[in-house]
């Protein structure tokens, strides 16, 4: 053994075995965390990550701003005759598009998470099985709300005035966030099936990009060829955009909202259990 130097430069802290012994014996097992509490704790984990790396919010702040400015001023004159009129049409649409795009990142984040050792610990805990997934999607929902808020506020600055006022805007945002939460499950499933975060991103956008553009988000479908128009009319994203416009203007049709909610429930019913099962299998 080496001889200990008599003058040791500021000994770095080490484990104190007596204190470790005390810590081991000083706790008794509490009752299990409830499903809700476990999910919220995972949501808190998501928030902490944002707190430590705020740059993660770029995709839900800068990107929506870019979309609003680009589409309004690039296409406004050509499509609607004036940017002001187009803003009225496109703002709810951009709200839908921006928030839906953000859902892809939920799958990317989950895929990244899986490469870390901490997932093994989560999976070995006596908690409600879907809690890590539900929790992180709850955390992501906060991001969706943020993205939506940025868009609505920017729209108002540019002159957009929702007919149903603040209440209408909040209702539209709530519907979009709810649908996005449901859609996220599709991407978390992808996140568990594909091998790399990049693959998830590519596959995700390959799906969400055409679905979003082949909707009534940007243009009135009556200008489209009949086959395309037929598709656009049944595309759930069109219906979501229509319902959002309706909620903002105060003339939403209950049927549209019902369809959006039904699709949301169906997506969750299929993909949430699938994601949970894949996550459990690791």
């Amino acid at each position: 053994m080496s001889i200990h130097p008599t003058t040791q430069a500021a000994p770095s802290p080490a484990a104190d075995e007596a204190a470790v012994r005390k810590a081991i014996s000083s706790i008794s097992r509490p009752p299990k965390a409830s499903a809700l509490s476990a999910a919220l704790t995972f949501g808190w984990r998501g928030m902490l990550k944002v707190k430590h790396v705020p740059e993660q919010l770029l995709d839900v702040t800068i990107t929506p701003v870019m979309f609003v400015l680009m589409f309004t001023y690039l296409f406004g004159g050509a499509i609607a005759g004036s940017t002001g009129e187009y803003l009225d049409y496109i703002l709810p649409g951009i709200l839908v598009m921006s928030v839906l795009f953000t859902t892809v990142y939920s799958g990317v984040a989950l895929n990244t998470d899986l490469t870390k050792g901490v997932v093994d610990r989560f999976r070995s805990l006596p908690i409600w099985r879907p809690a890590p997934l539900v929790g992180s999607l709850l955390g992501d929902s906060v991001r969706y709300v943020l993205a939506g808020t940025v868009i609505i506020v920017l729209g108002v600055i540019l002159g957009y005035r929702p007919g149903a006022g603040i209440g209408g805007a909040i209702a539209a945002l709530a519907l979009v966030v709810l649908f996005s939460f449901a859609l996220s499950w599709v991407f978390t499933t992808l996140g568990l099936l594909l091998r790399s975060p990049n693959a998830v991103m590519n596959a995700g956008f390959m799906g969400i990009f055409p679905l979003t553009f082949l909707s009534n988000v940007f243009v009135d479908p009556r200008t489209l060829p009949p086959v395309l128009e037929a598709f656009v009319d049944v595309n759930p994203i069109s219906i979501l955009a229509t319902a959002s416009r309706g909620l903002m203007e105060g003339n939403a049709e209950a049927g549209d909202i019902a369809i959006v909610l039904t699709v949301a429930v169906a997506l969750t019913a299929v993909f949430a259990p699938l994601t949970t099962r894949l996550y459990r299998k690791g």
Partner: protein
């Protein structure tokens, strides 16, 4: 204490394959409660897969196991409620701080917010991490990360703990600290299943060892039994004066039998597992006037055990550690 079988882990014929690779090929284990049981084997031997099955992370393809009396497939939740896992990759969240990691686990294990905070402070203090409490774990040193990892495993003290290569990549000082923590855990009554590829680690900590290679348990016993199965140790002597080696050779020959001359012209050794006879022989050397520079009585190292059982050396293992006697001599 709740009543459970005296065996903390009882595994029968566990099989697991991934695609065409058979990772675990019929493993039986019997781990007594309140002990440290070592699974020793090279990389890729299947140790981690066994641990992952026992910790309910993956299901065995065949075979069964009970952990603390609970079936790992049918009663997975009960198993999870009583064990904790320290994985091969440190099982902590690198993107959070040390404190946040511990609070997160406390909350997930059912502690109220205030209790989770209090517990995290207590553990950070005990594990010497108070100063680093608010730093992101990705900026921790390897030793700090391991300590946090183990702290995270005892946020609520488990009855059984899986430790997968707890000291891989650590410097000797951090390694000794981790060993100290493991000993403290055992004293407190926690059973530990320890995976390691370091033979010295199993020797230092484990009460029983299963040697695993290619998904099979190829030998089992106490460290002492395993060593004994390989053969005896040896008395190594180094002389002050190489000229005296023939004389020393005769003395050792009489006292211990066959003598081997080392490449060092002043050194020689003979097989010997009996400390008394070694002492008598050394005394005889002194009596006839042979001056000794250094001597040691070595037990066979677990490296030799592994070589003897498998016919190939364990990977990534340094040469056998000098034993305590030699350390005292050379200190």
């Amino acid at each position: 204490m709740t009543a459970h079988s005296p065996l903390a882990i009882e595994a029968n014929g566990l099989f697991k394959s991934f695609g065409e690779t058979l990772a675990v090929d019929g493993v039986d284990l019997a781990v007594p409660s309140n002990s440290v049981y070592g699974m020793l084997g090279p990389n890729g031997a299947g140790k981690t897969t066994v641990i992952r099955m026992l910790a309910t992370l993956i299901r065995p393809d065949a075979g069964s196991a009970r952990v603390l009396g609970h079936d790992i497939v049918k009663e997975a939740d009960a198993v999870r409620s009583a064990v904790s896992l320290t994985g091969q990759l440190a099982s902590v969240d690198e993107d959070l701080t040390g404190r946040e990691n511990l609070i997160l686990l406390g909350r997930l294990l059912g502690l109220k917010r205030a209790a989770a905070k209090e517990r995290s402070a207590e553990l950070l203090e005990a594990f010497g991490l108070s100063e680093a409490a608010t730093r992101l774990v990705k900026n921790y040193s390897g030793g700090m990360r391991r300590r946090l990892d183990i702290a995270a495993s005892i946020v609520v003290t488990p009855k059984l703990m899986f430790l997968d290569e707890p000291t891989t990549g650590l410097d000797p000082r951090s390694r000794n600290q981790v060993w100290g923590i493991i000993r403290a855990l055992v004293e407190a009554g926690t059973t530990i299943l320890l995976c390691t590829q370091y033979l010295e680690e199993a020797d230092q900590l484990a009460d029983g060892i299963a040697v695993i290679d290619h998904g099979k348990v190829i030998a089992e016993g106490t460290p002492g039994q395993l060593k004994a199965s390989v053969g005896s140790g040896a008395l190594h002597v180094r002389l002050l004066d190489p000229e005296q080696r023939p004389q020393a050779e005769r003395v050792l020959q009489q006292g211990l039998g066959d003598v081997n001359l080392a490449t060092d012209p002043a050194a020689l050794w003979a097989s010997c597992s009996d400390a008394d006879r070694a002492a008598e022989t050394l005394a005889e050397l002194t009596r006839v006037g042979v001056r000794i520079a250094d001597f040691s009585l070595d037990q066979p190292s677990l490296d030799e055990v592994f070589l003897a059982i498998t016919g190939h050396p364990a990977e990534e293992v340094s040469a056998g550690q000098p034993n305590a006697l030699e350390e005292e001599q050379t200190a």
